[in-house]
């Protein structure tokens, strides 16, 4: 780095008033150019992100319903209605449960798969492909496959269990098991992606660290993992947690295809409730209010994550 930086005194020597003026003009021009270049992106951002966001916030204070010619200001009515809406509480808690299960589940299993595959001497590519397949497949199509597999009369899972003497039930139709089944599908789907990220992280750990550890006398697999692998994987882990958490918060496809939020709202999650209120019931303003709550949630989480986790991560 040092060889291309100008030393301060050399800079001073070359600066006459004229050149300074030229420089500031150049600076101004460069800044103008930068803004000009950024303008299309800024414009698009305002149109596609900030504009709609603002519209949603404004809508949430009105009584607008899709197709209406006019709307009235209703203040906090929608938010008040939310406080008395049992389905809202249910969808919040279901979403949190889903995130709480899928994030650690797919993280640990993804890491486990990565370590196991990494330890293989042959067939690495094969297993990598096997675990990565669910990520490549369209989740909607896969959800339909799961639907068939869970069907009480034809599905392979209930029928296999029936052979073992359990009652053949479609767990997606049972209030107690529907959400856990969706969590399992969620883990199944994101495991492969997390695994690939972890494998990339593993290959980035210098061999020399392990050799150094061995010289220091630490040779058990556990010490190697705990003192080198895990800390060195911290940046990857943080990335995985963030990505999986955000994706889990947005769970929609499997709910839409498999349960539609049922049975008895046992799988009602925030995004699905927003969809239902907005596009099934046309209560657009209420859906907007729910969206605002959802955004606040995501925002808070992002801040917490950025503050707490980022500080503790060792970037190499």
């Amino acid at each position: 780095m040092a060889d291309i930086t100008l030393s301060p005194d050399r800079l001073q020597r070359t600066q006459t008033p004229a050149t300074r003026r030229r420089a500031s003009l150049r600076n101004f021009k460069a800044q103008g150019l930068a803004w000009m270049l950024a303008l299309p992106a800024l414009f698009l951002m305002a149109m596609l992100l900030l504009g709609p966001l603002l519209a949603v916030v404004v809508l949430s204070f009105t009584d607008y319903s899709l197709g209406n010619a006019s709307l009235d200001w209703r203040g906090l009515d929608n938010y008040q209605a939310m406080l008395g809406d049992d389905i809202f509480y249910k969808s919040i808690s279901n979403t949190l449960v889903y995130v709480g299960i899928v994030v650690p589940g797919s993280l640990l299993l993804g890491l486990g798969a990565a370590l196991l595959i990494e330890s293989l001497t042959r067939g690495k590519a094969f297993w990598r492909a096997v675990y990565f397949l669910p990520v490549m497949a369209t989740l909607i199509a896969m959800a339909i496959v799961w639907e068939f597999m869970m069907s009480a009369r034809f599905g392979i899972i209930p029928q296999t269990l029936a052979l073992l003497g359990f009652p053949a039930k479609n767990w997606l139709q049972e209030t107690a098991t529907a959400l856990p089944v969706l969590c399992i599908i969620g883990i199944w789907q994101s495991l492969g992606f997390n695994m690939v990220l972890f494998m990339a992280g593993l290959s980035g750990i210098p061999r020399t660290l392990y050799e150094a550890l061995e010289l220091d006398g630490g040779s058990s697999a556990w010490t190697r993992f705990w003192t080198i692998t895990w800390p060195m994987l911290a940046p990857v882990t943080m990335f995985v947690v963030i990505i999986t958490a955000i994706r889990s918060f947005q769970v929609f496809d499997t709910v839409h295809v498999l349960t539609k939020g049922g049975p008895n709202n046992a799988t009602m999650v925030l995004i699905y409730q927003i969809y239902q209120e907005g596009f099934d019931f046309f209560r657009s303003s209420y859906a907007a209010a729910l969206t605002v709550v959802f955004l606040v949630f995501i925002f808070i989480l992002t801040v917490i994550k950025a503050r707490t986790i980022e500080n503790k991560v060792h970037y190499s």
Binding site: D63, S65, L66, G67, N68, A69, S151, A152, R153, F154, N170, L172, Q173, E174, T175, G262, P263, N264, N265, Q276, E277, F279, D280, F281, F282, R283
Partner: protein
């Protein structure tokens, strides 16, 4: 400049018009459920264009479902890209009427000389009447009917009359259970749109959903209690599986269920699936009290065009599709029936003689009642409240307290109804 432009356009139009010998109007039409109706509309449009060479019909890509249909129209009303004729679920008409998107048909009907003779009767028009004005013409109608897998019933030793009451249904259930077949006894379609069968039980006792001014829930009365208790009793005594509707239909189609209470609209598919596997029979929906009825399902055509020329052509098409040969196509190509009297009694007589299973619903036509759409902005949300309540019984969670379920459901629906008469 503008005047010159206008004149040029007028001249060109005149020349073009004289060349074609008549002015041609193009109307755009959109309908739901391509897999059910593509053939039907193909036939209707072909016949219509032959009979009306001055009108061209452009079919838009079909709506995916009734939900998608009303969603699209609501969106298009903002962007002013509405089709001239749209076909909408019967319980989805009201929202378009309330928002002023659907146009009243009274001006057209008053000009028709033989409207009644063409087969349009009051019960049919009632399905699309709001505030004493007709807004649509029902196109394809379905009613709840009973489907029986006669093989399962015979193996259960049941050879008597098919059930006429719910208690008799339960008897058949018991017979099927004791016969030890690996089948479900029955499935009762509580989850057809989540409130259709709730309305069916209530209509069977002539019990409307709300008070006449639509501000009070009406089903929290004796008839409503009977309805909820009957549902709970059926689920319990028949061991009815808590299936999602697609799964329930697939099971019955495959011959794994004895009795199936459902809409006639599934008849075409189930008939095809049952061929060569088991004997399928449809029969009247059980236990309709004197003066009771059944809610109509299906869809109706609405005119959305406001331009007089377009609207006129749109009306011609809609009338063609809902009467005479047009209406007959519905029965010939789908499991639905046309609500048109003339089409059913004259043109389709032969067809029904040959297909008695299709005739069950026609026999029930005198029972035709409104598929009631709840009023106001929360109308569709109310159907979800009813669905949730029914589900809590179907899933056994609250099967032992139907009266309490009804009580809570009534309170929640009441809170969502408009405070003032509409």
């Amino acid at each position: 400049m503008r005047r010159m432009l206008k004149m040029t356009v007028a001249t060109v139009a005149l020349l073009a018009g004289s060349a074609a010998a008549f002015a041609e109007t193009t109307i755009e039409v959109q309908y739901p459920y391509a897999h059910l109706f593509t053939k039907t509309y193909e036939n209707i449009v072909g016949d219509f264009e032959k009979a009306n060479p001055d009108i061209k019909v452009k079919m838009r890509a079909a709506y995916e479902s009734y939900e998608d249909a009303s969603q699209s129209v609501l969106k298009e009303s903002i962007t002013k890209k509405l089709p001239d004729v749209t076909f909408q679920g019967l319980n989805r008409q009201r929202i378009l009427v309330e928002k002023g998107i659907a146009q009243p048909l009274e001006p057209f009907i008053s000009k028709e000389a033989d409207f009644e003779k063409d087969g349009y009767h009051k019960a049919m028009l009632d399905l699309s009447t709001f505030d004493n004005k007709v807004y649509g013409l029902p196109f394809s109608i379905s009613l709840p009917v009973a489907y029986y897998n006669m093989d399962v019933l015979k193996k259960a030793g049941y050879t008597g009359e098919l059930p006429r009451t719910w208690d008799q249904v339960i008897e058949v259930c018991k017979a099927i259970k004791t016969s030890g077949q690996n089948v479900d006894t029955m499935f009762w379609g509580w989850n057809v749109t989540g409130n259709w069968f709730w309305q069916a039980l209530n209509w069977s006792r002539n019990n409307p959903m709300t008070s006449a001014d639509e501000t009070q829930v009406n089903f929290n009365n004796e008839h409503g209690k009977w309805a909820m208790k009957t549902f709970a009793k059926l689920v319990k005594a028949c061991d009815m599986p808590n299936n999602e509707w697609k799964e329930a239909m697939a099971n019955f189609s495959a011959g794994k269920v004895g009795m199936f209470f459902w809409s006639t609209s599934a008849l075409q598919k189930i008939t095809n699936d049952s061929k060569g596997t088991y004997e399928l029979k449809t029969d009247l929906y059980p236990e309709i009290a004197d003066g009771g009825g059944l809610p109509a399902g299906g869809n109706a055509g609405l005119v959305l065009a406001t331009d007089p020329v377009q609207a006129d052509a749109a009306w011609k098409f809609l009338k063609f599709a809902t009467s005479g040969q047009g209406a007959a196509q519905v029965a010939l190509t789908t499991g639905y029936m046309p609500p048109n009297k003339a089409a059913n009694e004259i043109i389709l007589k032969n067809f029904y003689d040959k297909n008695p299973n299709n005739f069950t619903a026609v026999k029930q036509l005198p029972l035709l009642r409104d598929w009631y759409a709840f009023p106001g902005e929360n109308g569709l949300k109310i159907t979800k409240v009813i669905e949730d309540a029914m589900q809590s019984i179907a899933s056994r969670e609250r099967i032992d307290e139907p009266e309490k379920v009804l009580q809570e459901m009534s309170e929640k629906v009441q809170a969502l109804l408009p405070k003032n008469p509409s």
